[in-house]
Symmetry: C2
Subunit: 246 residues, 2 copies
């Protein structure tokens, strides 16, 4: 049983931005696709869990970038289940360009949810056995709770109503849509000039159709600043997603 | 030289909606990808035209559906250059499911734009030779100008500001994003119950970053009505896109 899964993806027109650089939201798509296939191949994926009313949700992610590939290039997403940390299953990633040069690394934290009561399950306490590849590590420090820097000046940018294209087969907003929301909240000049080296995200509350999200971020957007904080709240004033761009 | 191009696509999680039916916006992605590859293979694609400052823009599209495939299914997009009609290059499509059962047909109208003055070029008047497969036809009647039905009651739904994720490598809003906007403007109950059999769209004006679009549609949304009209205007009150769902 091979604990390391590799999958190739080609960057289509809709996977690159106005700079002809891979969109981080598209990389998220690819990582989730590879994670799902990896888990299935190891016996703890959707196919094995659905009958037991169990499913995975991603809770936190952290990606470090060196370069961003361009249109028509291919990338290879390598992923493996790294370890278990309390309630979290930790899954790491290394991303390569088509010449197998490393271009990004990521670590992600997942919860196994029981669909009957929507609560996280203690891992390996039921019939689903989660294998791990202890010792193979992409980013040493696990994902942490994201908080604004001390003294940050957070302002409301706009509100966004959740529509048809924002919800997935489970009728929830997909994680990739949150990543899109985050980058939509930043000025285009910033996104043209900024060389992004790190992206962190925490998924806190699910969103459904017709929810209205209030989008907030650091007011001061200067390319020579190092960190840019983002958060979204729903109409019940619950935090939905937080993120940090570096 | 084979005038008919076939390309396979797999429906990933982000290609299906909350009904587990293929999104029309994803089909648009696939059709544009296959069209680009077909044109390249026949000598009138991006690769051959870019040096001459020429490029294709899609002006109109009409798709007729019989069934919508589900998650993890594959589709085969077949496309060919059908004929030339005044300034328009006509390109048709037949879409098959993985068992090669036909599930949709489409006809599309494209303009060849001269990047030097942004005006449409008369076809086959320059060094780019556009081959056509006369006689092979997916939908008999070519795309026409879309207009609201007489007596329609059109109302404004909301406004949408164009952001980072809405623009493509050419710094314009991609056609697929317009398709997303259209379906986002309709109620979820309608999109759950309605069996869509036809989708028509006209692309009228380009949109750029920070443009604000006003979204309008037929006020009466009843599943037993037959046609549903949509239009978007920009901040200069120019029509940007119109569509009809049946």
């Amino acid at each position: 049983m091979d604990l390391v899964w590799q999958e190739r993806f080609k960057l289509r027109t809709y996977d690159v931005d106005f700079n002809n650089r891979m969109k981080i939201s598209s990389l998220f798509n690819f990582m989730q696709e590879a994670a799902a296939n990896s888990a299935n191949s190891l016996g703890f994926g959707y196919d094995q869990m659905v009958a037991k009313q169990l499913f995975w949700v991603i809770s936190r992610a952290k990606i470090e970038f060196t370069t961003f590939p361009a249109l028509d290039e291919e990338i290879i997403v390598e992923t493996w289940p790294r370890t278990i940390d309390k309630l979290y299953a930790i899954r790491d990633f290394i991303i390569y360009n088509q010449d197998m040069i490393e271009i990004a690394r990521a670590t992600t934290s997942w919860l196994m949810i029981n669909g009957a009561n929507m609560r996280p399950q203690r891992l390996n306490s039921n019939q689903i056995e989660v294998a791990t590849f202890e010792g193979k590590i992409a980013i040493e420090t696990l994902c942490e709770k994201i908080e604004p820097l001390a003294g940050s000046n957070i302002k409301t940018i706009n509100t966004v109503k959740i529509g048809y294209n924002d919800i997935d087969i489970n009728q929830h907003v997909s994680n990739v849509k949150y990543v899109e929301l985050i980058f939509n909240a930043f000025p285009i000049d910033f996104l043209r000039d900024k060389q992004i080296t790190k992206f962190e995200i925490n998924f806190l509350t699910e969103s459904k159709y017709d929810d209205v999200l209030t989008i907030k971020r650091d007011q001061e957007i200067e390319v020579d600043a190092t960190s840019f904080y983002f958060e979204a709240y729903n109409q019940n004033n619950k935090p939905v997603v937080t993120a940090m761009i570096q």
